[in-house]
Symmetry: C2
Subunit: 513 residues, 2 copies
């Protein structure tokens, strides 16, 4: 109890891309829980000035080697022995690939694995499936040197291909001629993109499917859009960027000279100001081609996909089967939650939920949020006991719950915030509210609160709850374990029943029975 | 690394007071780190309706027994075997004390230890010394049935006495006659309080000393004052309540009928509305008597004092010698901070601080804040890596740093918030700002940021820093370990030097040397 699960294994994932080189460190207990603990990012621009003969430039290779040396040094300093170093399009397509690999090996001892186009797509899709719970749809990863497209069905990677539609490559090919964008250059770029996409006949999205964007371009676009909207939720993972808003963004980018873009477009990293237009156009044309109305951004991609192979080593396909459940339990384990109490509170709360279905009319989505809040409501104790309801909400909003949407995650945080006391207010919801959200929070938090006080002793004294009555008078019969005295739990729950009574507009009397 | 220290021991402290009964659970590694993980509080009002013959009423005893049974159940459910059950004034003074203890023992198996007045004072003082770092001064604990006063010198309890000035007792004696306060009753109460305080000839405060308030009355007064001022810092521990503001509070309380007090005085717990006036008057008269200009509120009192005996078992006096250092290391250990990196960054930052003394003019207080920030800047990683600077600040502001004032704690949080990037803004300071605070944060954060990037590899590559030059041109010579290549660290530090350059109004060139 209260003992966080020990994350005894560590791995460093090195991803040498065309634009950036990244080291990602994860601590994990295989199959159970994990946490990303460090990320180093170096702007290497490996494919900068790519020669006509397809050779990477010497100075670019040197930057890459220096970056990887730093990463190796970091891993050594941390005692991280397991390192997974991969290289993608820039190295894959380089005429002097062998020389690059040799230099990397000589400088760091690391043997880089050069991913094929399909593998690049596969790992990106794996990161997305395990990061968003994508069931069926398309995944698009616009990188520096290439863009990968994948089809996912029932949570499994089906097919994937690489295209040369990388933001750095396209910028060098079409847009590196001055500060202002010329319409003719834009047309040539768009035609080139459309031609490449046309070759992917399977790049279509069915109505219930999702198009997911991965990688630096998608994240930058999401950040810019989020800033422009004053979006209240801090995590990128799960952010939805609509076609209309993307179109408006692209227009703005085109208008601005490169040097002014970071200032005028908050959220745009300054080292991406020149290449963002090309990347944004690829995303735009892909949305058009796939007939998707929006892009959902994934915070997890290739690096996480590689990580999941280490995390779920004995699977033929390292896909987390029930991502929502996993995310909630992952967070609970990381914080050492008290499983027995959390399970019991959850059970009681869901029992009330099910018995009140006709009154509240809620369904699976709300039930899943209540389940998650029941599990996680006490994790904030790790910061401080006295305001742990606040801290639980903070942790959930900042760590995120892969598999749950932003709106669901914000609801779960609200339920945790109000699980002990207080009157819910909509201003505390960290997502754009939807109709009925305040009632939703009040009605669900009321159940969680009753359940919490019905286990005030933490002894799981109450074994069963039964609601009786109708209209404005309800009776809640709480059955204690045989021989146990539940008077205290019942008294505490009765004292905390005011939220229930106002949320359900009735009187509630709690009795043993 | 990143492995939180295992808190393998647990203890439950039960404090049966005149107003409330409380159970406090702590997890700890003796002498190293601890965390309060649960608190249950039951409003027992043990001394309610105290008979003329000094016997506690049967129904009050029954409430106490039920509360303690709940606590025992809770401890059993958590597998907490070590329980420290104590009783204070209400039981101590009860004519039927033996009967009360017998009933408690029969119902729960617990043998309550009845503290003497001096012991009550002692443990309260111990809680304060280890919770605020009080060196010399007075401690006042206004409870339900009694008020304890202690003198502390050089961090040690010197003397202490109990008085019958408990909030519940005084209310029952003088104020339980209707909703409005009658001036005559108020006078009689004030005279009674002054008489009791007069007997404590040693209740005087020297100018450099502090008067600390402990217990429910002090906390309630602090909460009310904090609400009235919209005070930006959330922790009670270390809150300063001035005589003027207390006087204004007392006036407002007197004006309001009991039933209206909670609504008109946010921060006042509703179950304290009737007894708050008596308690506030005791505090007010004590401040007057001791010639103190303010009361500093301690969030730690008797229960924590009892806990510290378990925490530091082999000391003759379980006082934490250097509380600031302990608090910082406690927090670091709880979050599994990387000691080697933290130590190194701290060392580099302090080296810069010391070499720049003539430029910034700061002294021990700022240096201590920089030290703390150097140790704690990465603890937020436990929530999420990508915004860990934000989370480190959040944790510090919510867990608190006993031994540091609110203002210092808020500064430390600011330094952590800005240790990686960004331009400090005063709005992020969670304490009433003082003149020069923005410059202070910029100058100190700049040092921490350089130090952080100078250890980007986490290999502690840079062994020494030397600043040369003057006026608008400074050179920072960074010496690598023999044979080590520090180009990356120096490059990263140079890239992050803009805050330093604007904070110190000079150009900074970083070179190996």
């Amino acid at each position: 109890m209260h003992t966080p699960l020990a994350l005894s294994r560590r791995v460093g994932i090195i991803d040498l891309g065309s634009n950036s080189a990244r080291l990602m460190i994860a601590h994990y207990a295989p199959g159970q829980a994990y946490r990303i603990t460090d990320e180093l990012s170096r702007r290497v621009r490996l494919s900068e000035g790519l020669a006509a003969d397809g050779r990477l430039r010497t100075v670019a290779i040197l930057r890459a080697v220096q970056a990887v040396r730093l990463f190796k040094l970091f891993c050594d300093a941390h005692g991280i022995k397991r390192i997974v170093p991969v290289a993608t399009a820039a190295v894959r397509d380089a005429a002097n690939r062998a020389d690059v690999l040799r230099q990397l090996r000589a400088a760091t001892g690391l043997r880089f694995r050069v991913l094929t186009g399909r593998e690049e797509a596969y790992y990106g899709a794996l990161g997305v499936v395990n990061g968003l719970g994508l069931s069926s749809g398309l995944v698009m990863d616009v990188g520096g040197g290439s863009a990968e497209f994948s089809r996912v069905e029932r949570g499994r990677f089906r097919r994937g291909e690489t295209t040369p539609l990388g933001a750095v490559r396209l910028t060098e090919m079409f847009l590196n001629n001055g500060d202002h964008v010329r319409p003719a250059a834009l047309r040539r770029l768009t035609d080139y993109v459309d031609e490449a996409l046309d070759r992917l006949a399977w790049l279509r999205l069915a109505p219930v499917e999702t198009l997911v964007g991965v990688g630096g371009t998608a994240r930058a676009l999401a950040r810019m859009d989020r800033e422009a909207r004053h979006y209240p939720f801090g995590l990128l993972n799960g952010y939805e960027l609509t076609r209309q808003r993307l179109a408006a963004l692209v227009e703005r980018i085109i208008e601005l000279p490169v040097a002014e873009r970071p200032k005028q477009l908050p959220g745009l990293p300054s080292d991406r100001a020149d290449i963002i237009l090309a990347g944004a156009l690829v995303v735009q044309r892909a949305l058009h081609r796939a007939r998707a109305s929006a892009l959902v951004v994934s915070g997890h991609g290739l690096r996480e996909g590689l990580f999941f192979e280490a995390f779920l080593p004995h699977s033929t396909s390292p896909v987390i089967r029930d991502l929502r459940t996993f995310s909630v339990l992952n967070l609970g384990r990381l914080y050492g939650y008290e499983a027995a109490h959390a399970e019991h509170v959850t059970r009681l709360a869901l029992s009330l939920f099910d018995q009140l279905t006709e009154r509240h009319g809620y369904a699976a989505e709300e039930r899943a949020c209540l389940w998650a809040a029941g599990q996680l409501h006490d994790i904030g104790t790790v910061i401080d006991y006295y305001d742990h309801h606040k801290h639980s909400a903070y942790i959930i909003l900042n760590a995120g719950l892969p598999g749950y949407s932003h709106h669901e995650t914000a609801l779960i945080a609200m339920l945790c915030l109000y699980h002990r006391k207080g009157q819910p207010v909509l201003a505390e919801l960290r997502a754009p509210p939807r109709p009925g959200d305040l009632d939703r929070v009040r009605r669900l938090a009321a159940l969680l609160r009753l359940a919490e006080y019905l286990d005030r002793s933490r002894a799981q004294t109450i074994t069963r709850l039964r609601l009786e009555g109708s209209g404005k008078r309800l009776r809640l019969l709480a059955r204690p374990r045989p021989g146990a005295d539940a008077r205290v739990e019942i008294w505490e729950a009765q004292r905390s029943a005011d939220l229930f009574q106002s949320a359900y507009n009735c009187q509630l009397v709690i009795e043993p029975g």
